[in-house]
Amino acid sequence: MNRRNFINLSGLGVGGLLVGGVPVYGNTVSVERLLEPGVDVATKKRLADIALNAARSKGASYTDVRIGRYLQQYVFTREKQVQNISNAESFGVGIRVIANGTWGFAATSDVTPAGIAKCAETAVAIAKANAKLQSEPVVLAPQKGVGEVSWKTPIVKNAFEIPVKDKIDLLLKTNAAAMDNGAGFVTSNLFMINEQKYFASTDGSYIDQDIHRIWPTFTVTAVDRAAGKFKTRDAFSSPMGMGYEYMDGLASEKIPGPNGLVGYRNSYDIVEDATLAAKQAKQKMTAKTVTAGKYDLVLDPNHLGLTIHESVGHPTELDRVLGYEANYAGTSFATLDKWKTKSFKYGSDLVNIVADKKQPYTLGTVGYDDEGVPAKEWDLIKNGVLVNYQAIRDQVAILGGKESNGCCYADNWDSVQFQRMPNVSLKPGTEKRSVIDMIKGVDKGIYIIGRGSYSIDQQRYNFQFGGQLFYEIKNGEIVGMLDDVAYQANTQEFWNSCAQLCDKDDYRTFGSFFDGKGQPSQVSAVSHGSPTTRFNGVNVINTGRRI
């Protein structure tokens, strides 16, 4: 991400969530600019055709062009003050071609007929240069042109139309709620993104898309100076593929849990959550340190989403399986030979995990991916068995498939698109069951809520996860709060220990707003839905240390 106009916003209260800061692309602009319409569709089609024709005339056998306008508004606050407001716009064209059986890519911010034609020629020249080093020609799964179409995230309130003052007021009210309830410090942030993407390809597709995402979040810190201790509690919001309506805090979208806990479905009450967070951060100060050992874990969707992301989402990315990410993120234990047996038990019979680019309110949902493939839903794990991967057009032939899964994405117009994770979600159980019902059946367990520390090896076998809140369960009841909890497991053993699922009424999504992959690194946003789920006999360690 550092190759762009990168404004480092780390140290503004998000450092715990992001390595290396928050990516901001493009130039800072006025708030009004974020609401101005971009280039009209007819002009974009005319410019796209220039790219397609220029590349074809230079010898490209396939071309796609993405004319992208990427808008961001980020608001950062701490306690009573605004730390930063960033409004940014990035506009340009990325052109990808196949020439001599090899990919070539070039991008330009010179969005003129001459600039685009030159960029297309560069892309072809790069493809031809790289072809000399290539051993296998690109085989692209066919994709019928979809003609001139459009798609828009079905938002109710465009977040960019909400005055900045309202956003600041809400965040400062959130901070005040935390401080009034015992927080020593609080930071709160609001991230809003709008991708206006136009895609055209030599297959005969002209796709105009308008995609919106939002993420409110905070961290509350409680400090006991006399004891020399501090504890934090992060927000239980989820980043969403929604407009500002996510901030409405509708009572109908709240799921009451045990011990006064509240789960948020598709509407978030940030002030209520900050109030609870401050109280819970203080409770963490005196929570009992965990005794290491085996426990049955009851995992909340706001926690389990990250475990799904790391232990199912990433290992089933086909480019990792094939070795394209070997030097960075790593490869995968979910190898093709295991998949070919059609009986590799990734998890217990209860485990049904779907990949999905269509689920409402989620981050990964679009009309079409960044190589013109319509959004789809497909099974990754069915009744515990590994049945498929995440594949894009130039990978499908390796699986013997005929069509792409439609999960190709680039994080900006000047990034080359590649395989990125769709929403990957655990289906809810079919039997009626709430969290409280589930806890009643546990003799010795821990109920874990929220995203904590996370780490997994480069083939996704061994992982360790922490959380935000830990409650000890004894003989079917919550008996108190625990501290210093992390669980370690082997991916396959963990998913095979999946013993019980709550039903659809408990189902919620978790999201990762800045998921990193590739070199140079690109971000993407992805959701993971699940119900609260029980895993039996998982190894819990005590992470308390004295220094």
Partner: protein
């Protein structure tokens, strides 16, 4: 041309300043060229080159500030950007932590620029990749690697007379070599200012040796072990790392606020306390010839030679200007690089003097577990070996660790000769009682 000379940059900055109607105006002009080449399965997967230039203007009226950026440098665009920054500033809420602009400063002379790197082109990158892939192909090994080069400048100026310019180059290279059957994996990484000092074949050959030597790894019980950590296990180019995490967690404000490992029980900080083994000395120095760095920080403060930890004692902590003024102390900026003093032993010497231990090539996926104690978790990766009686005996399966650099630097057995890693100088270390908590099947 994205690399402006000092005179060209100053001319543009002065022009911007001349448009100011604000109480104060500061300007930051930066740009550069980045090239990269990525390969996997012994073939190039992507490569590219991009140029960028960006001008940032921050205007202030009293304690209200606003920023605007642009990448066009004609006079009309410059003036428009100043007006926009001023407009944003007028509408902004007051920043209670606003600090007046710095006046002219005196900077150390540093030289983090190499012409050889500035001259790199696609052919150079392709040749460097060939030098890495070719020996792997010949040995039926599979290479995946990445090289990114950067040539950039940044210049700052303000209406109080501050003016500074820096240009620098850097190249980062890493390669992972795997055996054809996927049972062995090795890694090497290098970073240089001057690309003529980078030999991708030499680095790849080390990764190849590790890949071949790491097949058929045996499982050892997790527990406390004496470990020899190579510099790549202490500071990483691509991910969080143990030593970097500690050095970057020394901020004075967090410590004063009671939310840092340097916060003291009962209030205050642990400045002046001996927290580490007495052989631990860590400092920053932008003039060091092995890891040269820019002479000024983002807000214009001069980068200094400053000692953070001396003989195990916390000597200095970085301050923001606001916090330093509030506390009435010198506003030491966080260093651009860090240098940890070491010894004279080579890695081979350290292995020879080890009765029983584990050699760790690198760690991976390091994440904080407890910010209070700086406890981190992560895993070994790409070459982990058992040492007995001064010799590497056999490869071992990867471990997950849970360890704090604070505890680690108290359990120090030996330090080797420092090498450059991620722009810093880091010695290999021998540590006793390093905590491995579980095994991983990953290769």
């Amino acid at each position: 041309m994205a690399i402006l000379t000092e005179a060209e940059a100053k001319r543009i900055i002065d022009k911007v300043l001349s448009f100011s109607k604000a109480d104060d105006l500061s300007v930051s002009l930066s740009g550069g060229r980045r090239g990269n080449i990525r390969y996997a399965r012994n073939a190039v997967s992507t490569s590219g080159e991009s140029e960028n230039i960006s001008l940032g203007v921050t205007a202030s009226f009293g304690k209200k500030t606003g920023t605007a950026t642009i990448n066009e440098l004609d006079d009309a665009s410059l003036e428009k950007t100043v007006r926009r920054a001023e407009e944003v500033a007028r509408l902004a809420p007051e920043n209670p932590e606003y600090m007046p602009l710095l006046g002219p400063q005196t900077y150390l002379k540093t030289d983090p620029y190499a012409k050889s790197t500035a001259n790199m082109d696609p052919d150079y990158r392709a040749k460097a990749t060939f030098d890495s892939v070719d020996p792997c192909r010949k040995k039926n090994l599979t290479a995946a690697g990445y090289m990114e080069d950067s040539t950039r400048f940044n210049a700052i100026g303000n209406t109080k007379g501050l003016s500074a310019y820096n240009r620098e180059t850097s190249v980062e290279f890493s390669v992972t070599v795997r055996t054809a059957d996927g049972t062995g994996s090795g890694y090497a990484t290098r970073d240089v200012t001057d690309v003529s000092k980078l030999n991708t074949r030499e680095a790849t050959e080390i990764a190849m040796q590790k890949a071949m030597a790491s097949t058929n790894a045996r499982a050892l019980e997790p527990g406390k072990y004496t470990v020899i950590l190579e510099p790549a296990a202490l500071v990483a180019n691509v991910d969080a790392s143990l030593l970097n995490a500690m050095v970057r967690s020394m901020d004075a404000r967090s410590a004063d606020e009671g939310r840092s490992f340097l916060s003291k029980k009962g209030g205050g900080t642990r400045l002046g306390e001996k927290l580490f083994d007495e052989r631990v000395t860590i400092y920053s120095d932008p003039t060091n010839l092995d890891v040269p760095n820019g002479a000024f920080s983002g807000d214009g403060r001069p980068q200094e030679k400053v000692t953070w930890i001396e003989k195990g004692v916390v000597k200095n902590m970085p301050y923001s200007r606001y916090w330093a003024e509030k506390k009435g102390v010198h506003a030491t900026p966080g260093g651009g690089n860090f240098i940890m003093e070491g010894g004279t032993q080579s890695l081979a010497d350290m292995i020879r003097s080890t009765e029983k231990g584990i050699l760790v090539t690198r760690f991976w996926y390091i994440r904080p577990v407890d910010p209070q104690t700086l406890l981190y978790t992560g895993l070994t990766r790409d070459g982990t070996f058992y040492i007995e009686n001064g010799q590497i005996k056999f490869p071992v399966k990867n471990f997950r660790f849970n360890e704090s650099p604070i505890i680690m630097l108290n359990n120090l057995e030996a330090l080797g000769k420092p090498v450059r890693m991620g722009g810093n100088l880091v010695p290999p270390m021998k540590i006793r009682d390093f905590t491995f908590t579980s095994l991983s099947d990953a290769v």
